[in-house]
Amino acid sequence: MPVTLTQAAANHVEKYIAKRGKGIGIRLGVKTTGCSGLAYKLEYADDSLPEDIVSESFGMKVIVDPKSFAVLDGTELDFQKEGLNEGFKFNNPREKARCGCGESFTV
């Protein structure tokens, strides 16, 4: 299962890359840290490595390193507004539990 963006997420990624002025797409990843063991990473991508798993959603490149892909497999990145707050949300079917704030999780 590839890692995908929703239409809303793709639109915002496109908008922010334009504002930032450079970038070939977006890089998703995980790192082992935080109070529940793993934390998501969401970064601009200026390049991709040969081992990266690259897919495309709504015209935007989505790049994941192979180690993270094991955890992110099947994840959909959405963009949501909660009142005035807005941002990206990871919908990861493998996620089992999160810490209270939602910044780190376990699989």
């Binding site: 930032r20 934390a39 970064e43 909660e82 009142g83 707050n85 990206f88 810490c99 910044e103």
Partner: protein, 627 residues
């Protein structure tokens, strides 16, 4: 559930470590809050999508405090309790206010002498400008916290480059009152330069042209090794976009040949229509001013862009003469400016841009929203100060400089400059002073700001006393005075008598502030009066030396008159009287000469006194007791 933001490659924050930091442009007419989201600076809009919050606060009848657009609506029907342009009153006393805009409110002063910081009388009591500003800041803080989903770590707040210590301190107090941690106060033109990334360059000289709703500021900044120095500022505190609206409104009024004065509501309608037409004329070549007076009656008139340019040319010319004045003050030619930055919504008018382009021979920087650029620059700086930049960005911390020298008053009303103007802040400098009279046990310290040589020509910031100095002969005490200016440009002064450890200090929270543009005029007067100042300094120095010598010889005469014959004593007495008389006058060379004469004439006397003292010390002692 946390919502994520995109980071720069390799800069994803650890969970729970990202600090929410914002930049705030606390403006005269409008205020904005901005932050770094998805690695890009952005202004945060309210729930209706408006980034600009009108800087208006109404103290309503039901005890509520209304902020922003809702308050602005009551400017006409509840004028005394609806405070606008409060920035003009920050850190000011009633005595400082000279302009007619102040007449809209009723002021009180706690101390009653017109010198303490003023308060505005409203139906909810006497409110200080600091409290009014804090309401605006609270509204922006609430917006930011709702938008970012957490508590703010801190904020960078912008102030005009010409703001003095009192005005900066008032701004900081307002932020504290609003519960904001102030990471730094940043000069507005510097913030605009940061937003355009000009601080990333090695060096350059930039002109910041800021034409806001009701105020106009022009500043020239020089960047060297990451430090922005304000070379010159000028402006007009009552010139802005609103005046361009008024020009169009008057044109419509005259065209329609209206015979009687408009009601406040009619005037508001006309102003709004004129403003809309002005904004249309920034993109279109013609616009229509159309007002619906109610009762099915309306008027309209077409205005071409050429007509608007012709009508408003006097206003543009006024700004251009200020631009030329800053160039002159900074001793620069137009072609030595590396870039012109546009700030303020009124700089969208094409003829303003064209006029600047013709002066500087290049198009001004205008790719960013001129209403937002100051807040965006502050946000970039706030993000760095909060420690969110993990890349090489954190090594690049922006420094500011102090606009006017800071110093101490010394004997004779002279100023000893301790921290020279354009020193980068934070800075700490110390200098040693000593006592002037034998047995002096206290010292009055007078802290001054300005470039002039005489204390009376500089601005007094604070006075304090160092007491408990052990009695010593004049000149023996060592009093170390330390001036410290923190990153916000606020000053604290400490005095320490080093042999005894007695100390005293003061943090400068001046009771009232400088007039607008007064810093600029203080600088100019310092340059203009440089030579008379130096003469005044020479005279004051000569007087100090003369007084000290007269005092010493008079005292010696009182103690050891017996060492002199009558002729000698009479000669010295008459020379003392002569020198005293000269010191009252203003010929510093004559004073210096007479001082030297008296010094020479009293040398022999001093020698005899020395012999006497030595004899007295030696009397009754054997040689080996002495050696």
């Amino acid at each position: 559930m946390a919502l994520f933001q995109i980071s720069e490659p390799g800069e994803s924050p650890e969970p729970h470590t990202r600090r929410l930091a914002v930049g705030i442009d606390l403006g005269t007419t409008n205020s904005l809050v901005a932050t770094i989201r998805n690695a890009v600076p952005e202004c945060l809009p309210d729930s209706d999508g408006r980034a600009m919050l009108p800087s208006a606060v109404q103290y309503a009848e039901d005890g509520e405090i209304v902020v922003g657009g809702a308050a602005l609506k009551h400017r006409g029907d509840d004028a005394l309790n609806t405070i606008t342009s409060v920035k003009r009153f920050m850190g000011r006393s009633v005595a400082d206010l000279r302009d007619e805009s102040a007449a809209r409110y009723q002021f009180t002063t706690p101390s009653g002498d017109g010198k303490g910081q003023l308060k505005i009388t409203t139906r909810q009591g006497a409110i200080s400008p600091i409290e009014v500003s804090s309401e605006i800041l609270k509204a922006l803080k609430r917006r930011a916290e709702e938008t970012l989903g957490g508590e703010l770590y801190g904020a960078v707040i912008t102030v005009p480059a010409y703001f003095d210590d009192a005005q900066r301190q008032a701004t900081k107090d307002a932020a504290q009152l609003a519960g904001l941690n102030v990471l730094r106060l940043l000069n507005e033109p510097t913030a605009a330069a940061v937003a355009y990334g000009l601080d990333q360059k090695a060096e350059g000289t930039f002109l910041i042209y800021d034409l806001g709703g009701g105020t106009f500021d022009v500043s020239i900044l020089r960047l060297t090794r990451g430090v922005f120095e304000v070379l010159a500022t000028a402006g007009d505190t009552h010139l802005g976009g609103d005046d361009f609206d008024a020009v169009l409104a008057k044109y419509a009024f005259d065209t329609w040949a209206l015979t009687r004065a408009l009601s406040p509501a009619g005037q508001a309608n006309l102003s709004a229509a004129a403003r809309a037409a002005k904004e249309t004329l920034s993109t279109e070549t013609s616009a229509t001013i159309k007002v619906n007076w109610g009762c099915g009656f309306d008027s309209s008139v077409d205005v071409s862009r050429e007509k608007f340019v012709e009508l408003s040319q006097p206003l543009v010319d006024k700004t251009l003469s200020a631009v030329k004045r800053t160039l002159r003050d900074a001793k620069l030619k137009a072609n030595e400016i590396d870039g012109v930055v546009l700030v303020g919504g009124a700089t969208r008018m094409p003829h303003v841009r064209a006029a600047l382009e013709s002066i500087f021979g290049k198009a001004p920087l205008a790719t960013m929203n001129p209403d937002e650029v100051v807040a965006l620059g502050a946000a970039i700086q706030a993000d760095q100060l909060a420690g969110n930049k993990t890349g090489d960005g954190d090594s690049h911390l922006l420094l500011d400089v102090i606009p006017l020298s800071l110093g101490m008053e010394t004997m004779g009303g002279l100023v000893e400059k301790i921290v020279p103007r354009n020193s980068t802040i934070p800075v700490a400098k110390a200098q040693e002073f000593t006592t002037f009279k034998d047995g002096q046990t206290a010292m009055a310290l007078h802290v001054l700001q300005g470039e002039r040589e005489l204390a009376s020509d500089c601005r007094s910031l604070a006075r304090f006393e160092l007491r408990g100095i052990p009695p010593m002969v004049a000149g023996a005490a060592r009093i170390r005075v330390t001036f410290q200016v923190d990153a916000d440009g606020l000053l604290s002064v400490a005095a320490l008598e080093t042999t005894s450890g007695v100390r005293a200090e003061v943090t400068v929270k001046p009771s009232y502030g400088l007039g607008d543009g007064e810093i600029a005029s203080m600088l100019q007067s310092a340059y203009a009066s440089a030579s008379t100042d130096m003469q005044a300094r020479a005279l004051a120095e000569a007087r100090v030396d003369a007084t000290a010598l007269v005092q010493a010889v008079t005292q010696a005469l009182a103690e050891d008159r017996a060492l002199l014959n009558d002729n000698e004593a009479a000669a010295l007495t008459s020379q003392i009287a002569f020198l005293k008389q000269l010191a009252e006058g203003s010929d510093h060379r004559a004073i210096v000469r007479a001082t030297e004469d008296l010094n020479r004439a009293s040398t022999d006397f001093a020698g005899r006194r020395m012999d006497k003292a030595v004899k007295k010390a030696l009397a009754g002692k054997t040689l080996d007791q002495i050696v």
